[in-house]
């Protein structure tokens, strides 16, 4: 078995039973369970979440991506400021980027005003933050490899040689 085959399968469907995973990988169920426990313990698997099409729910919620330029610190580089930003519960994902800005911040709020005030009052005021550019998300087409709307129809004949 490829070292990552089990992880790939879990990433596709985290709810897959250990018995089925064992069959697919050609190993024992016990080994599957032990592997998963090991991944969890080592922190390689950091959690399990459902992928939700929020556009289908009548949620009072907006999502935005913020490009942030920061000045790296003499000791600590980008990491200290990044950790401060990541701690806000509005921040759902955070990445250090190459290119014309440094941090890419994914935030969620109840409405536009809430996100706007997070940016102006919390984020932009952190020492070392030079500038921010906020983009609100309008619609999700594909998220984490999953298509949000179109379901591909099977056009194949029902029986073929």
């Amino acid at each position: 078995m490829d070292e990552f085959e089990l992880l790939k399968l879990l990433r596709k469907n985290a709810l897959e039973s250990p018995a089925n995973l064992a069959k697919m990988l050609g190993i024992t169920e016990k080994k599957v369970k032990a592997k998963i426990a090991e991944y969890e313990k080592k922190g390689i698997i950091r959690g399990y979440q459902a992928i939700i099409n929020e556009d289908q729910l009548d949620l009072e919620r907006v999502r935005a991506v913020i490009e942030v330029k920061i000045t790296p610190e003499r000791e600590g580089g980008f990491d200290r400021i990044s950790a401060r930003v990541a701690n806000f519960q509005e921040v759902k994902s955070l990445f250090l980027m190459s290119g014309s800005y440094d941090l890419l911040v994914f935030v969620e709020g109840r409405n536009l005003k809430e996100v706007a005030s997070f940016v102006s009052e919390r984020l932009a005021t952190i020492q070392g933050v030079i500038s921010t550019a906020t983009h609100f998300m309008l619609k999700a087409y594909k998220d984490q490899g999953v298509m949000m709307e179109v379901k591909q129809e099977d056009e194949r004949l029902k029986v073929s040689p």
């Binding site: 085959e5 069959k23 697919m24 990988l25 591909q152 194949r156 029902k158 029986v159 073929s160 040689p161």
Partner: protein
């Protein structure tokens, strides 16, 4: 003229006498049902990778709507040459030894027509792809089938062939990995068969359409074996490797005089393969090798699952080493494979092709395709399991 006189039958007797494909009737019944899980589809469930489709769209955008050379576009022949050299270790000249065809189906027909004379014996192993005996018969050859068996993991041996060989035998067809059994050939056995082919001066038509889909070891390529290149027609295509069945494009590699012969028939009947499909084929070979690896990995997981599930429910099944079919034995329940699959369809809404569709020696088996989403396979296995349990209680 009197209208009551019975009309002459216009159809040539040898066509009239050819039976319809065994899956035809089954297809019609399955198509009329709703909510059926189909494990009877002989093509990938993946859609052609986007970059390949995009290459075809780009070509169309730029006005690629013409005929091509009979042999196929120089680009694609060069790409095929490189691909075959890399994966088979055999060199074929793109100028004179490669013919691009409308799928391996056409390539197979051309190969048979190019080498079979009326009255020749053409050997093939069974259970096999549905078209072999009929295509041989269309060329007025005599189809001679060699049964392969489960005890042997449906492999072919030299001894089996020797029993059926006559002084009229001119051609041997090999299809490994095999549709419908998923069998592959160990190198040693293949070398023996190569020796036999040399000894009896046979032409070997190697239908290698599933060659990229093997899950445990790379298949042994007969064209590389001593004395074989000159007598081998190697057939392969894009349908299974890159999920391009609808593009209808394949190729034949063989020495110049055989390529020339096939080209002549192709030239007068098909002219050339569709240009868009050829453009897509170039993209597949040049940039699509990682796609095959991804699909292969997924097929392997499904294969492992379906093999374990079938054996667990009491349908003995050898490990299929290639293609995307499991071929379990279902002969322990007093039903023919046709009865078994019709009842399975009626009672559990799962469609699997009866083994008898692949020749008489497929009787007692069922072909379960795992070119189907894993969730569907799981549900199908539950239903087949329940069906088998009911049969057992009776």
């Amino acid at each position: 003229m009197s209208g009551s006189k019975s009309r002459r039958n216009y159809v040539a007797p040898y066509v009239r006498d050819t039976p319809r494909s065994g899956i035809r009737e089954f297809f019609e019944i399955v198509s009329s049902r709703k909510d059926v899980i189909s494990l009877s589809i002989g093509e990938p469930d993946f859609v052609t990778p986007w970059h390949i489709r995009e290459a075809a769209i780009f070509a169309l955008d730029h006005g690629a709507t013409s005929y091509t050379a009979n042999l196929g576009t120089p680009d694609l022949r060069q790409a095929v040459s490189d691909y075959v050299r890399k994966s088979y270790g055999v060199k074929y000249s793109p100028e004179s030894e490669i013919l691009i065809t409308v799928g391996v189906s056409e390539a197979f027909d051309l190969a048979i027509r190019a080498v079979v004379e009326p009255g020749f014996d053409v050997m093939y192993h069974e259970p096999c792809y549905v078209s072999y005996p009929s295509v041989i018969a269309f060329s007025h050859g005599r189809p001679v089938c060699v049964e392969t068996k489960r005890e042997n993991d449906f492999r072919l041996t030299r001894e089996m062939l020797e029993k059926k060989i006559t002084n009229k035998t001119r051609v041997l067809i090999l299809n490994f990995p095999t549709n419908p059994t998923g069998a592959i050939m160990p190198r040693k056995d293949m070398q023996e068969i190569a020796k036999l082919a040399v000894k009896h001066d046979l032409v070997v038509i190697a239908d290698d359409i599933y060659a990229e889909l093997t899950y445990d070891e790379k298949p042994a390529s007969i064209a590389r074996m001593p004395g074989m290149r000159e007598r081998t027609i190697l057939l392969n295509g894009f349908s299974k490797s890159w999920a391009m069945t609808g593009f209808r494009v394949g190729f034949a590699c063989s020495p110049p005089e055989l390529t020339e012969a096939m080209m002549k028939i192709h030239q007068y009947t098909m002219l050339c393969a569709p240009i868009l499909s050829q453009k897509a084929g170039v993209e597949a070979i040049r940039n699509g090798m990682p796609d095959i690896a991804d699909m292969r990995n997924e097929y392997r997981e499904r294969r492992n699952f379906i093999h374990a599930a079938l054996n667990e429910m009491g349908l003995p099944c050898h490990m299929p080493r290639g293609a995307f079919y499991a071929f379990p034995y279902i002969g322990d329940y007093g039903l023919t494979s046709k009865e078994f699959s019709f009842r399975l369809l009626n009672e559990e809404k799962v469609a699997c092709v009866p083994g008898s569709a692949f020749g008489a020696s497929g009787e007692g088996y069922l072909r379960c395709s795992y070119a189907t989403d894993i969730e569907e396979i799981k549900e199908a296995m539950k239903r087949i399991g329940a069906f088998v349990q009911r049969l057992r209680k009776r």
